[in-house]
């Protein structure tokens, strides 16, 4: 996966989540995500454990990206609609720089 493939300029809120599903920060993040009309969720670290949850917990309009290294390190298998990125942080940084929405880090 290359950076340019994900260089999309559009209005969306960008969320970075690094906490496990049971953490309070994750729960707050999911509440804000549910209130976002269009969002992109980046999962890194223990945040990739959210991929084990039912996909219904994510808003349908939410695009989900996960860090390949962290997914592999934790033995998590991502669903097909999740984009698992080798250049995760490069893509995240470019997205945050280019997106016109807000950026939330948890």
């Amino acid at each position: 996966m290359k950076v340019k493939e994900y260089m999309v300029l559009r209005s969306a809120d960008v969320f970075l989540l690094t906490k496990t599903p049971e953490s309070d920060r994750s729960k707050l993040c999911m509440k804000l995500l549910a209130r976002s009309e269009r969002a992109r969720l980046y999962l890194a670290g223990d945040g990739v454990y959210h991929l084990l949850e039912d996909k219904a917990v994510f808003p349908p309009s939410c695009e989900i990206f996960a860090c390949l290294e962290d997914v592999a390190a934790r033995g998590v298998v991502a669903r097909k609609e999740v984009k698992v990125l080798e250049e995760f942080y490069n893509i995240l940084v470019e997205d945050v720089m280019e997106a016109t929405g807000r950026f939330f880090s948890f």
Partner: protein, 114 residues
């Protein structure tokens, strides 16, 4: 003017997170619209009558009093969950229900957690 929401979700004493967050928020005053949100264990910062002498660390309530222009919002459900709803709270702290609190986060240009 850009707005920033500093979210404190950990207990005010026992780590430097709350002190660091308040210092950062104070430094942002006048340059940005600043809101400090107290959530989860962070709501303990709203309690009146804090005494940190035994810990040898600054009294964080005094920082809130010193920067009265700093908007501080406490998440009501977090207060209620900890049985603090009927406790004396610092006068400058606003209470916000779930919706109002999330709206304040969402409406800010920037969210900072430590």
């Amino acid at each position: 003017m850009r707005s920033v929401f500093y979210l404190l979700d950990s207990a005010p004493y026992g780590s430097e997170k709350a002190l660091g967050l308040l210092n950062a928020a104070a430094a942002s005053l006048g340059k940005m619209e600043v809101t400090v949100g107290l959530y989860g264990d962070g709501v303990y910062l709203a309690l009146r009558g804090q005494d940190s002498k035994g810990l040898g660390v600054p009294n964080l309530a005094e920082i809130l009093y010193a920067y009265g222009e700093m908007r501080v919002v406490a998440h009501e459900p977090s207060l209620a969950k900890r049985g603090l709803f009927c406790e004396g709270l610092i006068e400058t702290v606003e209470l916000a229900d779930e919706e109002a609190f999330l709206k304040a986060v969402k409406d800010s240009d920037c969210l900072i957690l430590l």
